[in-house]
Subunit: 245 residues, 6 copies
């Protein structure tokens, strides 16, 4: 098939995709995949303390600044980005957001979805986003549900997609979220892009070194000891024709 | 007590109860239990691809056809069936649906509830249904909640029920859903009925052989090697007067 | 800092806090902590069968009686109590309730939150309350979310709080709820207060001995074999300067 | 089949069977089952502190006293008892002990085995005993392994047994041992015998009240609220012809 | 590197590798991998009931027949086979067996090891074999431990190997063994070989259909619905340069 | 009691205690605790590849060098060190080693034991050591088991100890070992000592940065964001008189 492969990231807040899977995004974009990022919220209430330290900051302005940061980072990484305009802390999703996600997943004929872990007691927004990703995935497979431009049952509905693999990306504290990585992605070749994307998010400065160190630590236990790696956990079995070593 | 024992199945889509517990239904009906099936949705969006392959298919028509299929199967098995008219992919439940379920559980004085596993990442509707079943169970026990014809606190409310046992029936991929069967039900004597019920659902032909094979496999590991068995997992301890062998 | 330490209990029904953590409440109140209890519902539908056995009982009256019981118990224990007026069996929470909880957590600058286990298949209200507690906790930390009188980003929002530790208190059947206690609190010195508080809840007489026995059993496995103990499980790692023995 | 049903208990130390399943033993003996208890060790090193408080106590004498206690308790309960003479703290098992266990399981054609949980970090002897029980069970099923008087492949070996159900009995702290009870046995009718058996073990006085309370607590959550119950967890699925309520 | 890739199977009994990974063996042999099978025992005591039904059967003769069966099956599949001559039911491993396994893993510079699940309460031999496989793996990595012909620290010891991936193959009852497959291997192209290998083991006729059905069921849930598949679970993360879809 | 508190580390190889808990050792030594380290083996076979790269290296010489390294590190940290002379890759423990450990635990009246996680599929020696630590702990509590100089039942045996808390220290890959930290120890004040101890182990240079980064990462999620922290998981509940915040 000569369709481009595609990767869709579904994240709760604008920063999440940068810390946790910017390497995967940049790498797959370079490999020729189409990559789209869905930010369910701007995270301006819960993840932008630094912005509110500025005099005169308002919530709308914080949202706008967070959006600009995220757009900049996506551009660096070679991804499209979609803002679903939800409110954070606490995030709620609805039918209209689901429709948008279905359309995106179908338009791209998503092969892989990256999202949060289902368990994250310290950040329920992440749990909401992970569940939303699974709802969007199953809805995209539903022949009788409309949505998306790639029309499949043309007299009626949009084309469905198959069953894309879903990976959890690494949460802030893996063990708290029952995250057990089974896939380490060597991101050394795109590290500079990830670091540049990270620097697009000045509103969360404490994250910078933390996620650089995390990439170094994951690299140190990956085969071949790459300098930087990201960790993922798949939710569904993968089908293979040869056992990966 | 000479009340008939009763079994209530609470499932997300019309097909679910057939693949996963038609044997239990037929067997307990033959044993003299009252059996009622609650279908929270028709599953016409997500589980009826074959219907939408027919020219001119519409969603209302697909619903109707799914309903007819399910009624036919229930009749074969000897069960009542209730349609709660929810939408599938994604299923949402509400207070009115809960009221209906409470009334059914109380009217039948349910002894056993069969439902989905609480975890099912590939099909969130199943998770919604399992949670709904637990909500309905606890609500049926609540003296101060009205509903049902068997009036218990007659000046005010319906009769409550005790704490019926809940079993998860077998999901499509057991390990993905953390399903660990603890009860294997020999359904050999009612296999012909299950097979006939399965054949009432032509809209999902791929399921036929899969669930026949599953019954054979579960039989092969059950005591006495019955030809067909269904697997279940109880959610609550059972109280006994002698240890089951 | 000479701020008083504070403990906030977030429970589904009015009785829950008494059975499960009245000892912790009384003990910390005596130790000089501020203690507040949030009852999300009165539990009058599902946990007051005895009240409905009285002729002429109505739901509003049952609510009122449950409220009075709970206030009395809180007074005995030395805690404030807040009623959030939700309906039980099944409990639903909303944005307004969340706002109230955020304000309380911030006003008290909560150090510790006690709530239900996240899993409780026999009582979904408890799961709802546990999730709500985690939503409230994260929302209280969000600089961009308003609420609470202790103004932090004064030009705009309320003062946030740090990350309070959260403990699950002991559920009715620990193993059903995946409760694995890691902290046993010696409540011998305040047992009389707990027992007095328990006696404030005549609407649930079966609980009295059950929870006294539970306290004895937990004491019997605690270091030093205190006469009474309560069991808790922390959700987040604690930071220490010396390893607890 | 008119063979008597049979129950075999495999426990690490002489006291274990009394605290944890004396009710099951007495009840099944009354129901006409044959019941045999295997004590892998006397537990004189680790579970008889009180004996060593007596002046002049020696290890051989402590063993003897423990043996007498256990025999007395078994007699009260109506069970045979076998001492395998292992050393405790730490217990090690060997091929000869396995041969003896195989012979017993085959001679009785065991239907049910009761043993410790596989996880018990506070008492590794219990883990050793649980593993030994599973080794004995599988060895008893092996046609090509000799042992037992009931000769099956008569030209060569002993008769094998089927696959008896195995239950973990309740450990001292259930949650530490990942014990999740699925079966509550009403032992009210034999409580006096259990209490009498408990009183046969004066060397462990702290256990008496603890296990009485435990029986009361398990009863309080069993269906019908029996006065006393014991909790068990099965290791293998059971095959049934009707779903237990 | 132009070294042939290699796969080493470490199994408790001679039949195990046939039922559980004959497809993987045949497939990788066809793909040009070197494949070696280590049978720790012949399984003649516990897994050859049919042989003992023959008059005059002795244990040495049963061993010999089992060996011949296994050699035949290995030949069909294109694998070397090594017999470690352990006793089954119950299997024990020792230092000499470990030395042999280390030599094989090093000689082949194993890339992948297939073995049992670590948990298998119904067959402790399988647990012993799984643990042995992990011991052999770590020992093969130890520079200071001798063994193997490919000399690495030539003045002293054998060449070590890297960290080969380990997969659990599918146990008889997946859920009992906490087996959660993450890799489905399409074995349709080599099915005839697997079926031929299965037919080499007439001493266990009940397994034939069971494992054919299992392959069909795993195929039905694999991507692309291959006719036959085998399921595996990896124990260690894999390092990748692109996320598997 | 004015007995000094004491900490005993039980580790498989000489390096383990340095990477994983040197901070805890140094900190508690400074706090006035007695600290003893038990190294079950030198780890010269599996964890000293660099030594074997030196021409003329022999196994006895590697052992000696590893011993010297470990002694140096212990001295830096302020701990006693005991070598149990076991062989590594694979480590086996025996009764004599257990006797020595019991004597040490009793002589110090150990309050806290630090050891490996019970699960570590990549390094079975670690599992062996963790199990040994639990065996030693329970044996030390056994009144009827001799050992140790602090005589308790003076006519016969050594003084027993109470039930010391056991913590798992952080394994190389936490998630592979089911390590879920619940305790973060601020080691900033002793970091220089830990770093100095690390530098005493030139035979494993790849570990240096990895464990420095790990300490930084654990610090970043600890309360108060200390510069360096170590993570631990307790195995048994702790008894408290006030809930830790």
């Amino acid at each position: 098939m000569d369709k481009k492969k595609s990767l869709v990231v579904i994240a709760a807040h604008t920063g999440d995709y940068v810390w946790r899977c910017a390497g995967a995004i940049a790498l797959h974009a370079e490999l020729g995949w189409r990559v789209s990022v869905i930010c369910l919220s701007y995270g301006e209430r819960g993840e932008a303390a630094k912005l509110f330290a500025e005099p005169g900051m308002t919530q709308p302005r914080a949202r706008e600044m967070r959006k600009i940061e995220a757009e900049k980072a996506a551009k660096v990484l070679g991804a499209d980005i979609h803002f679903f305009d939800g409110d954070d802390y606490c995030l709620h999703t609805d039918e209209a957001m689901l429709d948008r996600a279905v359309a995106i997943l179908r338009d791209l004929q998503a092969d892989v979805i990256l999202t949060h872990t289902r368990d994250d007691p310290g950040n329920i927004d992440h749990e909401v986003a992970a569940r939303f990703a699974l709802e969007a995935r199953m809805s995209s497979q539903a022949v009788g549900r409309s949505g998306g431009t790639a029309i499949g049952a043309p007299h009626l509905h949009g084309m469905t997609i198959g069953a894309p693999q879903v990976y959890s990306f690494e949460p802030h504290q893996s063990e708290l979220c029952s995250f057990k990585p089974d896939t380490l992605l060597d991101i050394t070749s795109v590290w500079e892009k990830k670091w540049a994307a990270i620097q697009c998010i000045p509103s969360q400065p404490l994250m910078w070194d933390y996620y650089r160190n995390m990439a170094i630590q994951r690299g140190a236990v990956a085969r071949g000891r790459p300098k930087y790696a990201e960790a993922f956990q798949r939710l569904f079995p993968s089908t293979v024709n040869e056992l990966p070593t």
